[in-house]
């Protein structure tokens, strides 16, 4: 029989305001097993915890029930308290009488009655608690970073800096991500390439970092400290270790009409290509959908011109299996498709472009060598209209666009408008805005400069329709402040498209069992206090995969994620969760039902010899749970027909005792 102590917390007036705490502690005193019951203003405070420790010693308690806030809040606190008092930490149960009682009910008698019942359920459960010891598992001292944009690069560099090996998996042929496509960065107007490419070189030269470019993660198994990851290295038909990146093949390749994705299709590349001059790794890649040699065996020119002999048309996709202790997701973002917003005529005119395309048009390494020219006819545009919030801040019932603010558009549009006016003072620049949001260091000052010093026309209102006619784009918009409908004959229209998480994020989240919000952004373990950790242990978040972010924010989050990874990898052993499944071998049928539902492959079978009452022996197949792999979901316990499989901490008997206590 347990000797249980009950501790009812007032939580100031949070609980005591709606629950008669004295009545609760009095009522629970009479429950079976309870030998001590009290209440106190703040159970989680030092004084409250001391009270528990003292009670354990005075009354020889074997179990503790704390009636307080949600176990998600302070279960860990009170387990530590129990440990300090010399008890097994798993002899503690929490009755949630705040979030699920005092805060949702207004009437004191009702709240008190419910609090007593919840307390009874916790007492009933503790009566059946047994001391649990968590298992330990080793930590593989290697990290995986998925995504090689600025977020992934910074995270990898910081982890490597602490002395741990890191692998970066990037699905494109080069690392660099979106930042490599940008021209200047706000609000300081540094050249993006000038600050990014040295970091890319650092990655390439860092002995602790391996880059798997043109690769993707196809399978993740295991758990924190012990992930088994399968990486698919797509065949690039070029031997990476031999290619010198000289570019002779690129020059000679006869197939030169492939839309260049790095320039967002605004110019062409060859079938064998290096995405841009500073690519890392600087290695050529053959596009199998464009290469004549790969498609029909005719050509082979690149192999002939390659002095290094790096071309290999027979290369196959390669699967690499590697162990990691921690995984950082840095899958980034993309602008959304403009298909559902064709009132802006994006699909009807080449001169309606997205802001990312505008970046390429002004980038010295872009399709126009940095000259701002119209995609349709290569003429200099004299009137440019920027449209903000295209697809951002939409109502869900409008069924297009995103509900959130994409956060970066106000600032990059100010940058584009300012730079255009700076370089081409003869250009009229209109920015149609709903609100200008500039909450960052030096952001509002930057926006004001665009208006006051550079003479950008900021118009409060939205564009309703863009009509291509002749070589003009007829823009119809509203100017809400002067209560007019404007008609502007523009040469170029730039849409600040909303951004969304990369499409690869959703399947990756499934592999990682990391949760996502409805917009497919990864959710953090706690929105304020654990912003770079996913709720899944060992999985960390870096950059825009967690939510829209600009570069400074991304870099600081990348560093934070790295420090969390370093903290994990610095440990030699991890303490596991002891609330895991276990099978009673006497009852187990060996039927394999549990194995089939286990999401972790934690259950195996062995033939075990049993001594029978009649002194014979019998060999029977039984299930065995691997405690390091089991995560404690309990799926097996229900699949098991005989009830041999049970779960520590949430045993069938315990749950039924709770049911009984509640229904009694």
């Amino acid at each position: 029989m347990q000797r249980i102590g009950v501790f009812v917390c007032w939580c100031g007036s949070n609980i005591a305001g709606t629950v008669d705490v004295q009545a609760v502690s009095d009522a629970l005193k009479n429950e079976p097993g309870v030998v001590f019951s009290t209440n106190y203003q703040y159970m989680c405070s030092q004084a409250g915890q001391d009270m528990i420790i003292q009670a354990v010693k005075e009354h020889n308690l074997t179990g503790i029930v704390v009636c307080s806030c949600s176990p998600r809040m302070h279960e860990a606190t009170f387990r530590r308290t129990a440990q300090a008092a010399g008890l097994n930490p798993y002899m503690v149960e929490i009755a949630n009488i705040r979030e699920q009682c005092s805060w949702v009910h207004k009437d004191i008698p009702i709240g008190t009655e419910k609090a007593i019942i919840l307390g009874k359920a916790a007492v009933a459960k503790v009566n059946l608690n047994t001391p649990l010891t968590p298992g330990e598992s080793p930590v593989t001292k290697r990290a995986l970073v998925i995504g090689g944009g600025i977020a992934g690069i910074q995270t990898a560099l910081d982890i490597a800096d602490a002395g741990f090996p890191v692998d970066i998996v990037e699905k494109k042929p080069t690392i660099g991500g979106k930042m490599a496509q940008l021209d200047k960065t706000f609000p300081t107007l540094d050249c993006a390439a000038c600050i990014l490419t040295p970091k890319m070189v650092d990655v390439a030269q860092n002995g602790k970092i391996r880059i798997f470019s043109y690769s993707e993660v196809t399978d993740v198994k295991g758990f924190v400290g012990n992930f088994d990851v399968t990486i698919k290295k797509n065949a690039r038909y070029v031997k990476e270790d031999i290619c010198t990146g000289c570019g002779a093949c690129v020059e000679k390749c006869p197939m030169k009409k492939v839309p260049n994705e790095f320039n967002l299709g605004m110019d062409n590349r060859s079938a064998i290509y290096i995405p841009f001059a500073q690519a890392v790794p600087k290695v050529a890649t053959i596009d199998p959908n464009a290469c004549n040699m790969l498609k029909n065996g005719k050509c082979g020119l690149c192999a002939r011109v390659c002095a290094a002999g790096a071309i290999d048309y027979t290369q196959k996709d390669e699967y690499i299996e590697e162990k990691y202790g921690a995984i950082v997701v840095a899958t980034g973002f993309n602008p959304i498709s403009m298909d559902k917003f064709d009132e802006f005529a994006y699909n009807q005119s080449k001169d309606v472009i997205t802001s990312l395309e505008f970046e390429r048009l002004t980038n010295a390494a872009g399709p126009t060598a940095g000259k701002l020219l119209r995609p349709s006819d290569g003429k200099h545009p004299h009137t440019i209209v920027f449209v903000q919030c295209v697809g951002s801040r939409c109502d869900a019932c409008a069924e297009k666009g995103k509900e959130y603010c994409s956060k970066i558009c106000c600032m990059y549009t100010a940058k584009h408008a300012m730079l255009t006016r700076d370089k081409y003072p003869d250009t009229d620049v209109y920015v149609f805005y709903i609100d200008v949001r500039t909450p960052g260091k030096n952001f509002d000052e930057f926006y004001r400069r665009a208006v006051e010093e550079y003479g950008v026309h900021y118009v409060k209102g939205m564009v309703g329709k863009v009509v291509p006619e002749g070589d003009k784009l007829k823009v119809q918009a509203s100017d809400l402040l002067s209560n007019k409908q404007l008609h502007i004959d523009a040469d170029l229209v730039v849409l600040a498209a909303a951004i969304e998480p990369d499409k690869s994020a959703r399947p990756l989240a499934t592999m990682l069992t990391a949760s996502m919000d409805t917009n497919d952004f990864f959710t953090e373990a706690h929105p304020k206090l654990r912003p770079v950790e996913s709720p899944t242990a060992g999985v960390f978040l870096s950059g825009a995969c967690q939510g829209p972010k600009d570069i400074p924010e991304t870099v600081s989050q990348a560093g934070a994620a790295a420090s969390k990874v370093i903290g994990l990898l610095a440990k030699d052993k991890l303490t596991g969760n002891p609330c895991i499944a276990h099978s009673n071998e006497l009852m187990c049928n060996g039927c394999s039902s549990c194995e089939r539902v286990c999401p972790y492959g934690a259950i195996t079978y062995e033939d075990k010899e049993f001594r029978m009452p009649d002194r014979t022996t019998l060999v029977r197949r039984i299930a065995v749970v691997n405690p390091a792999v089991c995560q404690g979901c309990g799926a097996c316990t229900v699949a098991c027909p005989s009830g041999a499989m049970d779960l520590h901490g949430f045993a069938s008997g315990q749950i039924m005792a709770e049911v009984d206590a509640i229904c009694k």
Binding site: D342, N347, V467, E469
Partner: protein, 262 residues
């Protein structure tokens, strides 16, 4: 196959060709348009106010007639289509409204079971543009035709669900199916001012001109439409290229136009 057919008032008067050509062409494509008996005027315009019940009853009766025939209901006129489809949608989604309507109807309650097709949807989703292409005998090759959708066919998109309301393709696909060249221009889904043509002829003229000019700038030699109101408006307001019903071109392409000119 046989489908229920709702011609509407204008197709029996000012827009007889739209009706005649539609029937002949459908027949040639293996679809019989069976006019529902004693059909009633759709009401011309759908009132969005949810407390307007009586004005929508005539449309509901047409829908019920099709339901009783156990056939989908096909319309040609854009305005009729808009009104009937929106009424049907209201019957499906607004229970309170449907209850009120059914109290007038007095028969078995109706809750939007009838499938409503525009003639163009019939061509695309039931017959298939590929099948149309195969039946074409007079290819209208080389003709640069601009499709004019207007507003009623496409909007509100949440109800009409015919095509992408900002970049529709159904009429362009139709034009290509009969062998002509489709001219794509931005104003093809902008309103011609149809409903206010009596009330504010000047505004209607402005809107119609914007459509015609934009189509011509894109190289159109002819405009097709599914709406008598649009056709009236565009012609009245100085279209200097032909504006015809799409069914007329379809009949011509299928080689059944002559039969119709009695």
């Amino acid at each position: 196959m046989k489908v229920a057919y709702f011609p509407g008032c204008t197709l029996k008067n000012k827009a007889k060709q739209l009706d005649d050509y539609a029937k002949k062409a459908a027949e040639a494509l293996g679809v019989t348009l069976e006019e529902i008996e004693e059909w009633q005027c759709c009401g011309g315009v759908f009132t969005t106010a949810c407390d307007e019940v009586a004005t929508k009853l005539s449309s509901v009766r047409d829908l019920v007639a099709a339901k009783n025939k156990e056939q989908p209901l096909v319309t040609v006129c854009s305005a009729c289509h808009n009104v009937i489809k929106q009424t049907n949608h209201a019957m499906q989604t607004n229970k309170e409204f449907a209850d009120k309507v059914n109290r007038y109807m007095g028969e078995e309650p109706y809750s939007g079971e009838t499938q409503v097709y525009h003639y163009l949807e019939l061509l695309r989703d039931v017959v298939g543009f590929d099948a149309v292409k195969e039946k074409v005998v007079n290819k209208l090759s080389g003709k640069k035709i601009a499709a004019y959708y207007g507003c009623l066919l496409l909007r509100p998109n949440g109800v009409m669900k015919m095509d992408d309301p900002e970049n529709p393709t159904i009429m362009e696909d139709f034009i290509r199916a009969i062998g002509a060249d489709a001219v794509v221009y931005a104003n093809r889904n902008e309103c011609c001012g149809g409903y206010i043509a009596m009330e504010s002829p000047d505004l209607a003229k402005k809107k119609s001109n914007a459509v015609i000019e934009n189509a011509k700038a894109a190289g159109a030699e002819m405009i097709i439409t599914a709406c008598p109101l649009c056709k009236y408006n565009l012609i009245k307001n100085g279209a200097d290229i032909p504006v015809v019903y799409f069914t007329e071109l379809l009949a011509e392409a299928l080689g059944v136009k002559e039969d119709t000119n009695e």
